[in-house]
């Protein structure tokens, strides 16, 4: 993770900026926000797009996530805390988007994951692949959203169990077992 490579002095300066007095509308000033955004935006977008399977939805959720992050009157303890908080907001937004989609079954907005999942269920995509491993996205599509998020945070972002627990809003002690189950399920589907 980029956060771990950041110099201590730079992190300290960011921390001072973040907890400084009110800079108008937001607690964080422009310079601090822009630096943080440049470091994290693409990673958050990648997380959102792989969780939702929808690039345009990921664009919308990204904007909303940063707005909510800026609007939150929270004193951050450091870069890692800031980053986890942002990913937590992103995760909640994905959850809300899924709930909204479930209440609108006639919606035209299908995600890549919906298409992949339908193809898998019908066996059309797998017909020519029964002898071969299912590709990563198809395997991810067949996981539950929380399992997807857990695997992404652990193995794509390199988050610790405590960080995963913070982002997903679960107990830290549960992460080990949940992650193990998600990993085994993914490997079964993936064919490895």
């Amino acid at each position: 993770m980029d956060a771990r490579q950041m110099a201590i002095t730079e992190a300290g300066a960011l921390e001072q900026d973040a907890t400084a007095g009110d800079t108008g509308t937001f607690l964080m000033d422009e310079e601090c926000f822009r630096a943080f955004y440049d470091r994290t935006a693409r990673a958050v977008w990648a997380y959102l797009s792989r969780l939702t399977g929808d690039s345009s939805l990921a664009d919308d959720l990204l904007q909303e996530a940063y707005f909510r992050f800026l609007s939150a009157k929270v004193s951050f303890e450091g870069e890692a805390h800031r980053r986890n908080y942002l990913f937590r907001i992103a995760t909640n937004l994905v959850h809300d988007a899924r709930r909204k989609r479930r209440t609108q079954p006639e919606s035209d907005s299908r995600t890549d994951f919906d298409a992949i999942d339908e193809g898998n269920r019908s066996g059309c995509h797998l017909a020519g692949r029964r002898e071969n491993a299912v590709d990563i996205r198809a395997a991810m599509a067949r996981l539950k959203p929380r399992e997807r998020a857990m695997l992404w945070l652990a193995y794509a972002e390199g988050s610790s169990h405590e960080e995963i627990a913070t982002v997903l809003g679960v107990k830290s002690a549960s992460v080990k077992v949940m992650l193990h189950r998600a990993r085994e399920k993914f490997r079964r589907i993936w064919g490895r």
């Binding site: 422009e30 630096a35 193995y155 794509a156 990993r183």
Partner: protein, 175 residues
């Protein structure tokens, strides 16, 4: 449920994500992963998912940080304006309802007074010489505007009195 774990799993994942695994620099760790089921699986997963992350990062076309900041500022200001206007709108609505209630309650009591007032007004109107507003037939037919000038003036004044409050409202309205 008993979960098998290995103390070096985190190290393996970190090495993969930092790019040291493919570079072949973590020889000891790789040898360990070759014989450890937990670390072997972690290395495989981390390799696959970090490649997927790299693919997603290359697809990401996000707004510039300046644009993101500007949009957030605009939205925050719009939200603040809406919140500031809310008590004023509530008070306005409450005042309107009160005014209507008072008017509705007062009419039965003031009915007698209204009758006498209308009678007074009718008396005032009857004293106005309306022929002063009629076109003067003695004026030449070539100057119709001059002939109708008094009536036009009276109608214009009445329209201004009615329209003026609306114009003022829109002039001072923020929207």
């Amino acid at each position: 449920m008993r979960v098998r774990e290995c103390a070096q799993e985190t190290e393996v994942v970190e090495a993969v994500l930092a790019g040291r695994w493919e570079a072949g620099t973590e020889q000891e760790l790789r040898e360990h992963a070759a014989h450890c089921e937990v670390c072997g699986a972690a290395a495989e997963l981390a390799t696959a998912l970090s490649a997927e992350r790299d693919a997603a990062l290359s697809e990401a076309h996000v707004l510039s940080s300046g644009a993101a900041w500007w949009r957030a500022q605009m939205r925050a200001r719009a939200d603040a304006d809406r919140q500031a206007a809310r008590p004023v709108n509530v008070a306005l609505g409450f005042a309107t309802i009160c005014a209507l209630l008072v008017t509705g309650l007062a009419i039965p009591f003031a009915f007698g007074w209204l009758q006498s007032s209308f009678g007074w007004f009718a008396g005032v109107v009857s004293t106005i010489d309306l022929s002063a507003f009629a076109p003067d037939p003695a004026i030449s037919a070539d100057a119709p505007l001059v002939a109708w000038f008094p009536l036009i003036t009276a109608v214009g004044a009445a329209v201004c009195l009615l329209v003026a409050p609306v114009v003022v409202y829109f002039a001072i309205s923020r929207d």
